[in-house]
Subunit: 442 residues, 2 copies
């Protein structure tokens, strides 16, 4: 069970001694971590709007400018300076409004100084709540902050808010951000397939779209949603979970083009050769030491051209897919907001080292409720596609996968438009005056 | 002035001799040509719905299966077998529902046989109206069919319906298809730029998106709409009209990243080196003899990486951009429909060898009316971006360009959704029984 902390106890105390001068309520810290999504700001909106309803318990919400780096460098944004309209606008604004970062804190043994610095900054700004919005790596950071703050005598309630387009966090039914990227890929794959179908007689026969997903094929699987019983589309999905078999793949393309006149290939950036090398390996690595990918589509296009002599076109969706707030899934937006809201409510109830989760109750109609997971069970665990979500031939999704995914792309949640363009908000980003002396070098 | 043909005259005759048995009204032929768009089916909808209202003058509308090839091979689709719901659904369905093709008829001198065959097929099926929905090449075909049919003693009223995502037809203010691809590029560029801005502190500094446009930079220019006075975005546009200057370009990227922390590059597939070679030249050619492009983004990404050492990401929108009916411009959909409707109305009024055009009346509010252009002035003329639409430095759009383009992306026209997916229609495509003997080899 998650442990109850001082927040709940102090509530009892203050209500019992109402006549005495109250201590200023603790402030909260919120930060966005890792690759941003179409709905991470909806979670921020959930955190801030909910905190604003409880000003007796949560003072101000300070956001880290550019994620956790903002905490380390004491570069905090005072969200109380943002209007209610701006905060409400975050719900329909893609990207990370406060800035995010790819900066993984090292282990406690390797760099205790960083964790201690975080707690010093939190202490200096009377921060008692730490809301960290990210994936598996940030869940780990969140857990460590909670543990070390206790050791250092300045206990902080650390709550992780789930976010990843990759849908790879454990325990929670899905990760906010995924439903929207899935909807984008499903819709785009359907649209481009219609396009190719109408041109295939004399022109392009194979359309290839490369999608994100280094290790887990969740996003690629979303391409399978383009095809339904009433709108069948010949689709081949290349998952990172399935070792790439060039001969089998080309045979399938050839077969589909002969049968249907065209086909669409959805290829994950993480697809790899039998020896483990990514099809798209560029040799570059990102800050987390992951290989920087991009280009699997061109490799696939090249082999279809040279081996099958079939005219093809390819697209690489890259950031367009995870930023596509204009076609966000309403279910996803709702869940993203709910996770932010639940994080604050958990904190108010005294929980610590936990993450709100989405617990599915039923598929049709899609019902879910907010659950809770201990961070020790979330940190650094990567959830892969279950084997029974991929068809036996390795090129498609099963009914089980479809039943799981369809509810996540349900509903539209269009942003407001002005002169044809979506009206996304930008924060003022007023800095909180620094209290600590000296500069912290990253 | 466009010449009046038998259609108008026969109207007078029939009304004057109402007691005599009427000749069966002529049928119409409709075909889609070249690369399809998000709204070409809206034009088809305009043609068919309008024709259905005038059954006394237009019998049936037969569509060419896979464009003009359907006429040559006598493979006609009887659109009267499609329900009113299906035809209405074409308005919100991307791609070419009847099939399109890249098949350019040779000149009369080179292949008179093809034109004669068209007229034989039209005669066999009592077709008196030829509606051809395409770009500059098909305007030329349309004109020739009209001319030759007159010579062959079976006069056909040929009306061209404008369509190109490239916006390169003359006389008309804009081409249906362009407004929607422009909206997609403007919205996607804004969204991806928000994404990069939030990550730039520790990760990607430059985002590159490659867009369509072989010779004319209209689509690339739409990337400039992402940035507005209330939402400025550091953007560099690389137009095919401007000779690529690597040194100047890299200096600009460097300057923008230093000033804003990030920047976005919108690169047209048609950008070329000083010696005329496309950045993306693959050496392949399409059926029209045009170089098949794709990959300018990777070339740009490579030089930013190696020369400036700036982390970057790139996307290639390819078919996603022209098929993106989910984010179609309402203005564009309305104009596409209106062009189809006007084509039929022109035919009913006896016009021949003409194309309905969009004549702009005012920018704010955007007002336009249907005009008419003679095909001899449209065929094979390519409208380039005016010089004063591109900023002097060659990297951006002027106010004049913005004033022209903004009205074209205005308004949203969402398709209906079911279970999270847009409900695009497919036709039954019932074939008209063949009447001619023998097979025609393409």
């Amino acid at each position: 069970m998650p442990k109850k902390t001082s927040a709940k106890k102090s509530k009892k105390k203050t209500s019992a001694r109402a006549s005495k001068p109250k201590a200023a309520p603790k402030n909260a810290f919120y930060a966005q971590s890792g690759g941003v999504t179409a709905v991470i700001n909806a979670s921020a909106c959930g955190v801030i709007e909910t905190a604003r309803k409880h000003k007796n318990k949560i003072g101000k919400v300070y956001a880290g400018r550019n994620g956790i780096i903002g905490a380390l460098t004491e570069d905090l944004i005072d969200t109380s300076k943002e209007s209610a309209t701006t905060i409400r606008g975050l719900r329909h604004t893609p990207s990370g409004a406060f800035g995010s970062c790819r900066y993984k804190l090292k282990s406690l043994e390797q760099n205790r100084r960083e964790y201690e610095r975080l707690i010093e900054v939190f202490k200096a700004h009377n921060i008692g709540y730490f809301f960290y919005n990210g994936g598996g790596d940030s869940a780990d950071t969140c857990l460590k902050v909670s543990q070390l703050s206790e050791t250092m005598g300045y206990p902080i309630q650390a709550i992780h808010v789930p976010k990843t387009v990759d849908n790879d966090l454990p325990i929670t039914d899905n990760c906010p951000g995924f439903g929207s990227v899935a909807k984008y890929i499903a819709v785009s794959t359907r649209e481009a397939s219609f396009d190719v179908a109408s041109m295939a007689k004399t022109s392009t026969k194979v359309f290839i779209v490369e999608v994100m997903g280094r290790h887990a094929g969740w996003i690629a699987a979303a391409g399978g949603l383009a095809s339904t019983d009433d709108t069948p589309i010949p689709t081949i999905i290349l998952f990172p979970e399935v070792q790439f078999d060039q001969k089998k793949f080309l045979a399938r393309v050839d077969e589909m083009v002969k049968k249907h006149g065209y086909c669409t290939v959805v290829v994950s950036e993480g697809v790899h050769w039998p020896d483990g090398r990514f099809l798209a390996d560029t040799g570059l690595k990102d800050a987390f030491g992951h290989a920087q990918l991009g280009g699997a589509a061109t490799v696939i296009a090249g082999m279809i051209q040279s081996e099958l002599k079939l005219k093809n076109h390819w697209a690489v969706a890259d950031y367009l897919q995870r930023a596509a707030r204009h076609i966000a899934s309403k279910a996803d937006v709702d869940m993203a907001y709910a996770m932010g809201k639940a994080a604050v409510e958990f904190a108010l109830k005294g929980h610590n080292s936990v993450m709100p989760t989405i617990d599915r109750v039923s598929n049709k109609p899609f019902k879910w409720k907010v659950g809770m997971a201990s961070l020790s069970k979330v940190a650094n665990v990567e959830k892969m596609m279950p084997n029974d979500f991929i068809t036996k031939d390795g090129f498609g999704i099963t009914k089980k996968c479809r039943d799981y995914m369809e509810p996540l792309i349900k509903g539209e949640d269009y942003p407001p438009y002005k002169d044809g363009m979506p009206q996304y908000v930008r924060i003022k980003g007023v800095a909180v005056p620094k209290k600590l002396k000296g500069k912290f070098e990253l």
